[in-house]
Subunit: 733 residues, 2 copies
C-alpha cells in the first residue's frame, strides 16, 4: 500500500495537530522554526513504516514539504496501524498528488517484516563500517547513495531521531554521497525532571526553582490544559533526543501525591500528548504514599501490606498508562519521608518500589541527595560533601536491576563549580544516573546568559580513575558486573515554563537543546552543539548578517559559564548566594546556617579543609589519582582549591597569582566580559527577531547589574577581611 | 434616683457583656483577672454619674462585687441616659439588696449639674494641694476621708481611669486617710497602632510584624467578628490609659484602603465595641485614596477635586462614626504613595487631610519615617539616620494644628539601642508624637523575654538640650508657640493578636501594660510599673509563693532589655539581624543591602562614622550638648559608640575594656543571663498557672537557643575579622 500527500494538499488544510491553532499564546518556535526544515521540506520524501511515531515523522515531513515545496509520500502502513484517524495518509490509496511516481530524494524507513520500498538504493542497507552492533529501538543508519538520502531504523523511535538528525544537517544531508553510518544514543534514558507543583506551594511557587513563569503542565491546583503547548514541548524534546520526563516536583505535596492515584488521569493526558514524540512520563512520588494515600499505619518498606499497596497501585498506573516510565523519589532528604523513619536503608526503600515496577518494565529513579540539612555551623567535622558517598557507597550491589541511583553531578548542590561526585566511581554494581540542572538555580536564574554545556561536558568527560581510564559518561553508559548491561541515565532539572520563550531567557534555550544532545552523545563538542542550535534557531535566511549573528552568539555564550564563575564565588568555594532564592551575592549568606555550606573566611585565609590529613577526609572518597591530587594544595586544580583547602590569601596559584589577587582579577574581568557581551548584543539590533533581541537585551542589562553587585560585594568582603589592596589599584568599596 | 444590685443578684445572672460567654476560646485575663478586683469588690460602692462610660464603671463595680462579696449602687442616671438596656441598674428603683442603705466605703462620682451624693465626705472635694488646674476630660481626684474612698471626675472618662487607679491600688486604697490628689494624663493621646491587614498579605501576613497569631480585628479579608475579644481588649486598654487605636496597617493594601469607604461599617463596629472603654478608632489611609477609591486622575494635595474628595469622604466617615479619631499616614515611604509624586512637600500632604478632618475634631498622624529605601551600600555619604530630620525639620511651623507628626523614637528603625531622634528637638512649632514599638520586631519577637519599659523610659526622659532642660516627654506634653497648648501623643505599634495569651509570650503583656502607663505618666519608674503588673496579673492569693514569684519576675524582666542588648548587636551598631523576618542574627545580613543599615566592619575596626568632621554629619542634627558629645569618640556614651563612630577594635571604652573584648564579654554575659532567667523560671513550676508557666518556659528555651546563636555568630564574626583572641580564653568558633 502506498499514499502520498502533496505540499499543496497539506497547505490547503493538512494536519495542524502540532500547530499553534489553540487559543493559548503561541510560544516561540525555539530551535524548530519552519525555516529550519527548508532543506528537508524542499525534497521528495518517502516515509516507510507503521505506528504512531512513524505518523509523527510523516506529519513532520508533510508539514515541512507544505512550507518549502517538496512532497511527501508514505508506504508500509499496515491495516492494524496505530496511525491516528486524522493522519494524512492512514494507509489509504494515493491521494493523487502531482508528484506521485517521481524519483525520491529521501527515504525514511523502518526495517520490518515488509520489504523496503524500491526507492532505497542497495548500498544504503550496507553494514556500517566497523559497527555491526544492533541499532536498538532508538538507533538509525544514515547514508546517501546515488543521490538518495536514506535513514533506516529498526524501530519507529529510531526513525524519529533520524528525521531530526536530517533537520540538523540541513542541506549537507543532500549533498554528495555519504557512507552508511550508525547513530545510537550513548545513554538509554535522557530525562528531564520537572520540579513543577500542581498546587502553588507557599514557598516554592508553581515551579520550584522555575525561572520561566508558571508550569506548562499545572496551574492553580489542576492541569493547565494547554495541549498545543505540551505537543510543541514533546516535539522540541524529541528533536534533541530526550525520551523521558517526570511531571512533578521531587518535593511531593499533598495534592501532587494524588497524581499516583485519583489524579492519575491528569498524568495520562500528558502521556498521551508526549507519546507521539517518544517521550515517556514518570512521576515523583512520596515514600509515605502508603500512609498518605493508602491509609496504612506505616510505609515500612519491609511491611507486607506496604509492598502490596505499592504493587496494586503500580498495577493500576500501568493499566491506565501502559508505557509509564516509573517513579522518581527524594527520600530522607530535606524533610521528605523515607526508609530511615522505619530503621531501613535506602536499598530497602528503592527495592520496594522497584519490585512493584519491575513486572511492568518501569524503573525507579532514587535520588542520592541525602544529607543532614540541620547541621550546626560550629561543627567542622560534619561535611555535607561526604554525605551521598557515606550513605550510598556501602549499598553498592544491593539495588535491584530497575533501580537507577540518581546522583547530583557534584557532592554539594549544583554549584557553578564543584568536583565531580565521588559516588560515581564508588558504585560499580549499581545503575547510575547523573543529575544536572538545566534550570539555572545557581547560575543566574535565566537572567544571566550562562551556556552550561561546557560545564556538563567537563563533568561527563571527567575520568574518576584518572586518564586514560573511563569517563563519567562511560560509567553511565555501561554497567559492568556478572551481566554487563547498557545502563545509566542522564537526568536534568528542566528549565521551561509558560514563558513565551519557554525559558525566560531566549538564550537559555541553548541549554535545553544542549542537554538533550549531550545525553545522546556525551562526546559532542559544546561549541559544535551551539553551532547546531544557532543554525536551527537563527537560520541564515532569516537574519540580517548571519556571520555576525553567529559570531555574536558564540562570543556571548561560548565562555559565559566561565564568565559567570569569574564574577561569583571564587575558586570552587561555592554558595556565596542569597539564601532567599539563590539569586545574587551574599558572601556570608550561608556561613552561619544549618545547610552545611561554608567558606570559613577569616582575616588570614579562606576555604574548606576537606583533606584526610587535617580536614573532613572527603578527599579519601576518591580513588587515585584524585585522592592524592585533591589532598595536595600544590597539586589541586586552581578552580577547586577552596573547595578542598583552607589557604592563606597569599597562597600562590598555578596561574602565578595569589588567591586574593585572583579574586580581585577574576571579579573585575567577569564584569568586563559582561560589558562586552552587552555591547556585542546591542550590535545585533535589527538583525534578528525584535522580540528575541529585546528580551535578551533586557536580561543582559540585569546581568550586568547583578555581576557588578557580585564583583563589588565579593571584592569588598575580601578586602575588608584581608586588608590586601588590589595590585592594580582598582576601586574596591 | 438611685439603684443598687447586690453581689448575689449579679452572680445569679448579672451582666456577662464582657464575659467569656462567646464561642471563641477564652483569652487569658492578662492583668485583669477577677482576683485583681478583690479589694474593690469587697466594698460597698456607690457610682454616681451618667452615660456609657459611667455604665462601664458601674458594670465593672457590679462584677467585682459579685465576685468578692461587696455591693454596688448607682445614682445620678438621667432620663436621657445612654445606659444600655441590659445594664444592671438603668436608673430603676433599688433592687432591694440586703446592703441597701448601709454606709459606703467608696464613691466614684462625676461632678456635674446634679449635686454629689451625700455619701461624699466634705473633705473629698477639697482642692488638691498645689494643683488648682482643671482636671480635663480624663483626669480625676482621689482621696480617702473619714473612711470613705472618693474618686471624683469632671467627665466620665476620668471616672473610668479613676476606677482602674483604685484597682491598681488594691487594699491600699481603703486604708487610712489620704489627702486629695489630682491625677491626669501627661499626654493627651495614648495610642496603639495595629499593623493588621484585613486581607492576608503575601509578604507581611495577617499582621505585619505581628508575633501573636492572627489579628483580633480581621481574618481572611473581612472582620473577624469576635466581639467578646474586642470588648476584652478595650477593657485592658482602658485600664492602662490607652485612649486611641488605629485598626489597620500603615502599609495600606487594596482591601484595606476600602475601610475608608465601602468597608466603613467594619470600622464602625470596632468603634462601637471600644467606645464604652474610652478608646477612639483611627484608620490608616493611603495617600492615593482619591485615585484608588475615588477614581480621580490625581492625588495632588493642591488639587481642588482631591481636596473635595477628602472633604466629602471624611464627612461620611464622621456621619457614621461621630467620635472617629482620624487618619494615620505613611507617605512616600518604602513604596507607599505620597505628596512627592506631585512635587508637593509633606506639609502640603498632611495639611490636606488635616483640613478635611478639622471640622469634625479629627487629627492626622503623619509619619516622619521617610527615607531612601533604595540606597547603594557603596555610597557612604547618604545616611538613613539623617533622613527624617532632613525631610521634616525645614517644614516646622507649616503643619496645621490638627496634624501630629509621628516620629520614630530613634533615627533609624526601632533598634534595641539608638540615639533619640534629633527631630524631636528640631520642630518646636509642630505637634509631635513619638512612635515606639510594643511589638518586639527587633527585640525578640515575643519569643524573648524583653521588658521594654526601661528603654522607653530612657527615651522619654532624654533631654534633647541636655540637663536640666526639658525631656522628650516634656516636649510631647507641651507645644510652645504663640498659642501654647497641651499637645503631642505617645504612639506604639501594638503587640497583640489572637493568641490565647494576647501577645504570644505571657510576659510580653507587661510591655503592653507599661506602654499605657508610661504614656499616662512618663515619669513612672519601670520597676514600679512592673510591680503593679505583677500585683494585678499574679495576685498574691493565687500563687504559691508570692515573694518568690515577684522576685523571679523582677529577676527575669527588670534587666531583660539590657540582656537582649548584650547578646545582640554591640554598642549601638544595630541591624545585625536576619533580613528575612528580623529574627536571629545575621551580622552581614544588611551590610550590602539597599536599606541603609550598615556596620562597615573590617579587619581593623567597626562602626559608622556619623561625625561632622569625617563622616555623614548626622551629629550636627543635634543641638548642644549632644552635637558635641556625639561628635567625640571620647565623650560619646559607650552604648552608642558604634552608631556614631568607626573605631579600631582596640579602642578603649569608658568602662576600660577594648571594643573587641567588650563584644566578647557582653555576648558571653548575655547568654549567661538567659541561662539564669531560665533556671529561675523553672523554680516557679507549680506556683503559678500551669499554662502560663509552660508557655514562658517554652519561650525561654528558644530564647536561650537564639541568644547562643547570637553570641556565637557575633563573636565568631568579629574574631575572624579582628584575629584578637578572647582575653579570658573562652571558646569562640
Amino acid at each position: 500500500m502506498s499514499g502520498s500527500v502533496t505540499a499543496r494538499d497539506a497547505a490547503a488544510g493538512g494536519p495542524t495537530r502540532d500547530g499553534a491553532a489553540g487559543t493559548a499564546p503561541v510560544p516561540h518556535a525555539a530551535w524548530l522554526p519552519p525555516e529550519a526544515f527548508r532543506a528537508l521540506g524542499a525534497r521528495r520524501v518517502l516515509v516507510h513504516g507503521d505506528g504512531p511515531l512513524v505518523d509523527t515523522v510523516f506529519d513532520e515531513v508533510v508539514r515541512a514539504c507544505a512550507g518549502h515545496g517538496g512532497w511527501a509520500g508514505r508506504t508500509g502502513v499496515g491495516a492494524g496501524s496505530g496511525s491516528s484517524a486524522d493522519g494524512p495518509s492512514a494507509g489509504g490509496p494515493s491521494a493523487g498528488g502531482s508528484s506521485a511516481g517521481c524519483p525520491v530524494d529521501l527515504v525514511l524507513a523502518v526495517r520490518g517484516a515488509d520489504p523496503l520500498p524500491s526507492a532505497v538504493p542497495a548500498g544504503a542497507t550496507a553494514t556500517p563500517v566497523g559497527d555491526a552492533g544492533p541499532l536498538g529501538d532508538e538507533g538509525f543508519l544514515c547514508s546517501r547513495v546515488d543521490g538518495v538520502t536514506v535513514v533506516l531504523a529498526d524501530a519507529p523511535a529510531g526513525l524519529l531521531y533520524g528525521l531530526f538528525h536530517l533537520v540538523r544537517a540541513g542541506e549537507a544531508a543532500f549533498t554528495g554521497d555519504r557512507p552508511t553510518r550508525a547513530h545510537r544514543p550513548t545513554l538509554r534514558r535522557r530525562m528531564l525532571d520537572h520540579w513543577d507543583n500542581v498546587a502553588v506551594h507557599p514557598g516554592s511557587g508553581q515551579v520550584e526553582r522555575g525561572y520561566a513563569g508558571g508550569s506548562i503542565f499545572w496551574r492553580d491546583g489542576g492541569p493547565r490544559g494547554d495541549r498545543d503547548r505540551l505537543r510543541a514541548y514533546g516535539r522540541l524534546l524529541a528533536s534533541t533526543g530526550v525520551n523521558a520526563i517526570s511531571v512533578n516536583n521531587v518535593n511531593v505535596g499533598v495534592t501532587e501525591a494524588r497524581l499516583l492515584t485519583d489524579r492519575l488521569d491528569d498524568v495520562a493526558e500528558i502521556a498521551d500528548l508526549l507519546r507521539p514524540y517518544g517521550v515517556r512520563v514518570h512521576l515523583s512520588v512520596t515514600f509515605a504514599a502508603p500512609v498518605v494515600l493508602g491509609g496504612l499505619p506505616t510505609a515500612d518498606p519491609l511491611d507486607d501490606e506496604v509492598r502490596q499497596w505499592w504493587h496494586d497501585t503500580t498495577r493500576r498506573v500501568f493499566a491506565r498508562i501502559p508505557d509509564f516510565g516509573g517513579y522518581v523519589v527524594k527520600a530522607d532528604s530535606e524533610g521528605q519521608p523515607g526508609p530511615f523513619t522505619y530503621g531501613r536503608d535506602h536499598a530497602d526503600g528503592a527495592n520496594l518500589l522497584a519490585a512493584a515496577l519491575a513486572p511492568h518494565g518501569g524503573v525507579v529513579h532514587w535520588r542520592a541527595f541525602v544529607y543532614d540539612h540541620r547541621q550546626d555551623w560550629r561543627d567542622r567535622r560534619t561535611d555535607r560533601a561526604r554525605a551521598a558517598y557515606d550513605h550510598f557507597a556501602p549499598l553498592d550491589g544491593r539495588f535491584a536491576d530497575n533501580v537507577v541511583l540518581q546522583v547530583k553531578f557534584g557532592p554539594v548542590d549544583f554549584q557553578p563549580r564543584e568536583p565531580v561526585s565521588p559516588v560515581i566511581a564508588a558504585m560499580p554494581a549499581t545503575r547510575l544516573a547523573v543529575e544536572l540542572q538545566v534550570t539555572q538555580e545557581y547560575t543566574g536564574q535565566q537572567w544571566h546568559a550562562c551556556y552550561l554545556a561546557p560545564w556538563w561536558r567537563e563533568v561527563l568527560g571527567f575520568r574518576p580513575w584518572g586518564p586514560p581510564e573511563r569517563t563519567v559518561a562511560d560509567v553511565l553508559a555501561d554497567v559492568p558486573g556478572p551481566q554487563p548491561r547498557r545502563g545509566g541515565d542522564l537526568v536534568a532539572v528542566a528549565n521551561v515554563g509558560d514563558d513565551p520563550f519557554w525559558c525566560g531567557h531566549p538564550l537559555a534555550q541553548a541549554n535545553l537543546y544542549a542537554f538533550g544532545r549531550l545525553a545522546w552523545d556525551p562526546c559532542l563538542d559544546p561549541v559544535a552543539i551551539l553551532d547546531e542550535w544557532i543554525d536551527l534557531t537563527f537560520p541564515a535566511s532569516t537574519v540580517g548578517d548571519p556571520d555576525l549573528v553567529r559570531a555574536t552568539l558564540h562570543a556571548v555564550l561560548d565562555d559565559s559559564w566561565r564568565t559567570y564563575e569569574r564574577y561569583t564565588a571564587p575558586l570552587g568555594v561555592g554558595f556565596m548566594v542569597n539564601p532567599a532564592g539563590h539569586y545574587g551575592p551574599s558572601v556570608d549568606g550561608y556561613e552561619y546556617s544549618r545547610w552545611g555550606t561554608y567558606h570559613f573566611a577569616d582575616r588570614d585565609g579562606v576555604g574548606v579543609d576537606r583533606t584526610r590529613a587535617t580536614g573532613t577526609g572527603f578527599t579519601g572518597q576518591y580513588p587515585p589519582p584524585w585522592s592524592q591530587v585533591y589532598e595536595s594544595p600544590e597539586r589541586c586544580p586552581d578552580e577547586l582549591l577552596l573547595f578542598f583547602h583552607h589557604v592563606p590569601y597569599s597562597h600562590v596559584l598555578h596561574n602565578g597569582s595569589t588567591v586574593i589577587q585572583h579574586i580581585y582579577d577574576t571579579h573585575f574581568a567577569g564584569v568586563e566580559e559582561v560589558v562586552a557581551m552587552r555591547e556585542r548584543w546591542a550590535r545585533l539590533a535589527g538583525m534578528i527577531d525584535r522580540a528575541v533581541h529585546d528580551r535578551v537585551a533586557e536580561r543582559l542589562d540585569e546581568q550586568l547589574r547583578c555581576a557588578t553587585e557580585w564583583r563589588d560585594q565579593v571584592n569588598t568582603y575580601f578586602f575588608r577581611k584581608s586588608g590586601v589592596p588590589d595590585a592594580r589599584g582598582r576601586r574596591i568599596h
